[in-house]
């Protein structure tokens, strides 16, 4: 499990608003990938690693100091017109953390056994797509400061990835509803909510990418 080095308060204060945003994105992305990794371990029935990964997402607070430093800096900064937009970007990154934490807490409530191998493969496929769009979003956010055009293009990949996830979601739910199981059972509810939570995170990532594209059209001059 890769853990990002914690920077001291002094070191954080030396960073610019853009650098803090990128660092924050790295931290949250790392936690997000841990969450995805944890769910994959759940699928493979490696419950110890599953619990360890999700507890990492819930308990880690490495990003709190970055958030405090950013909030102190942004209002005092000499940025002319992009303060509000940068603050919003930061807020959206923070939302990924909140959604991840919510998901992790929910997933730890119960230890579910997956119905069959086919179902596990579909879940792993949707998690692979989620990992891809998370990485793409992270790259896109980190390019806002230096190359908004490229950032815009990467967001198209994010949106396409999320469309693919949507198709996979319906396949998964279709399978789930057709199993011979009690629809009020904890396993059914757990798996259904797990799929919905994965899509909730994907939807947020997609909405975030659309916001980045909005920023690109706002600040860049397109022919």
């Amino acid at each position: 499990m890769r853990i990002l080095l914690e920077l001291s308060e002094k070191e954080l204060n030396k960073l610019s608003v853009d650098e803090l945003t990128r660092l924050f994105m790295d931290n949250i992305n790392e936690q997000n990938l841990q969450l995805i990794n944890g769910i994959e371990c759940l699928v493979e029935e490696d419950f110890d690693t599953f619990k360890k990964s999700l507890n990492y997402v819930i308990k880690t607070t490495t990003e709190v100091q970055i958030k405090k430093t950013f909030e102190n800096k942004i209002f005092k900064s000499k940025l002319m017109f992009s303060k509000a937009d940068r603050l919003k970007v930061f807020g959206k990154i923070n939302d990924i953390k909140n959604i991840g934490e919510f998901m992790a807490n929910r997933l730890l409530l119960y230890r579910a056994i997956f119905p069959d191998e086919e179902f596990k493969l579909h879940v792993l496929s949707i998690l692979k797509s989620l990992r891809m769009i998370s990485l793409n979003l992270s790259e896109s956010v980190k390019l806002i400061g230096s190359d908004l055009r490229k950032s815009y293009d990467i967001c198209e990949d994010v949106k396409e990835g999320r469309r693919k996830m949507r198709r996979e979601e319906w396949k998964l739910l279709n399978r789930l509803y057709n199993y011979d199981m009690d629809y009020l059972s904890r396993t059914f509810l757990y798996l259904k909510e797990m799929i919905e939570d994965i899509m909730m995170l994907a939807d947020h990532i997609k909405s975030f990418s659309e916001y980045i594209q909005f920023l690109a059209t706002k600040y860049l001059i397109f022919d």
Binding site: D85, Y219, L220
Partner: protein, 339 residues
């Protein structure tokens, strides 16, 4: 009686200069961009507009309004000037209450035309063909059409050039912010440049004083003295009264980019400069509106054509309505034996 009227006219001219400053919104783009502190912007902008008025009081637009548009052998009388001022003020006030944006320049010239026609026919016994310097007058009216259209075209071209040469190369938000910081200071210079020409082209107040100079109601020293007072009044107009409008508009411009402000202000001020040097009184607000349209067209943004047509109708009607108002007012004064 004549001295009293001259004194009233001088006071009204100074008040007009104050209102020119009070109605000027040029500084709002500077304040919105956060280039200078608010009060400092007002002081520097006020000094610029006052200087423009004073430095170009010796001729140019003041001379056109005060003498050149009249025909040979015709001069303003004090009552003519009084009528021109009162009727143009009435029309502007009516427009304000009705929420119609009107040009003070068009109002003033329209009032002059109305009064001179009545004077020529009923009092001076002057043929209308020689009552006006038709060449000058037609140049003035033509400049009202050419100046806003030129503003549109110049802004459009200017924006495309800046995009091609520079703005298109800016990739990331950091680069854009950094470049706009430099544009901030260029905007400062451009806005001060614009304020000077706004003051220089304001023929309303100085035109009245020039009319008094031309009919020997004022001597040259008095004329320049009162011109300086007009400059100071314009400064006070900005500092005391325009601050509220500037602050209000500036708060809507916080997210606008200095580069866009430069394009609009530079285009409009170049047109004002050319018009001033040719002695042509034009409407600064008309030019700025068309510059904004030019920028929107260049950026492929939507234009509110409905509002534009409505505004154009008021602009076209201002001149004849002001002329009719002033003619009726002057005729009324003549009938009751005041003149």
């Amino acid at each position: 009686m004549t001295s009293l009227l001259v004194a009233i006219l001088v006071i009204m001219a100074i008040s007009l200069a104050f209102s020119i400053g009070a109605n000027d919104e040029t500084l709002s783009v500077l304040v919105g961009a956060g280039v200078l502190k608010f009060k400092i912007a007002l002081i520097i902008g006020g000094i610029a507009i006052g200087l423009g008025m004073i430095l170009f009081s010796g001729g140019f637009v003041a001379k056109t309004v005060g003498a050149d548009i009249l025909g040979e052998g015709i001069q303003y009388t004090t009552f003519m000037l009084l009528t021109v001022l009162i009727s143009s003020i009435i029309w502007l006030v009516l427009g304000s209450f009705a929420g119609i944006p009107l040009s003070s320049t068009h109002s003033l010239i329209g009032s002059v035309v109305g009064v001179v026609i009545v004077y020529a026919i009923f009092q001076g016994g002057i043929n209308l063909e020689i009552a006006f310097n038709w060449e000058k007058l037609s140049n003035v009216i033509l400049s009202w059409i050419i100046s806003p259209l030129s503003g549109l075209v110049i802004t459009f071209i200017f924006f495309k050039l800046i995009v091609k040469l520079y703005l298109y190369r800016l990739k990331g938000l950091n680069q854009i912010e950094k470049s706009e910081k430099y544009f901030k200071w260029i905007l400062f210079i451009v806005v001060i440049f614009a304020e000077i020409w706004v003051g220089a082209n304001s023929g309303e107040a100085l035109g009245i004083l020039y009319g008094l100079l031309a009919n020997s109601s004022l001597n040259i020293q008095q004329y320049f003295f009162f011109s300086i007072i007009c400059g100071v009044a314009a400064f006070l107009g900005i500092y005391i009264a325009a601050r509220y409008v500037i602050k209000n508009l500036a708060s809507q411009m916080i997210t606008s980019r200095p580069s866009e402000g430069i394009i609009i202000q530079l285009s409009s001020s170049v047109i004002l400069m050319i018009a001033t040097l040719f002695g042509l009184p034009i409407s600064h607000s008309h030019v700025v509106v068309f510059c904004i349209i030019g920028l929107n067209l260049a950026q492929k943004k939507d234009i509110d054509y409905k509002s534009l047509i409505k505004m154009a109708i008021y602009w076209i009607l201002t001149f004849p309505i002001a002329a009719i108002l002033s003619a009726l007012f002057y005729y009324g004064l003549a009938i009751i034996g005041l003149i």
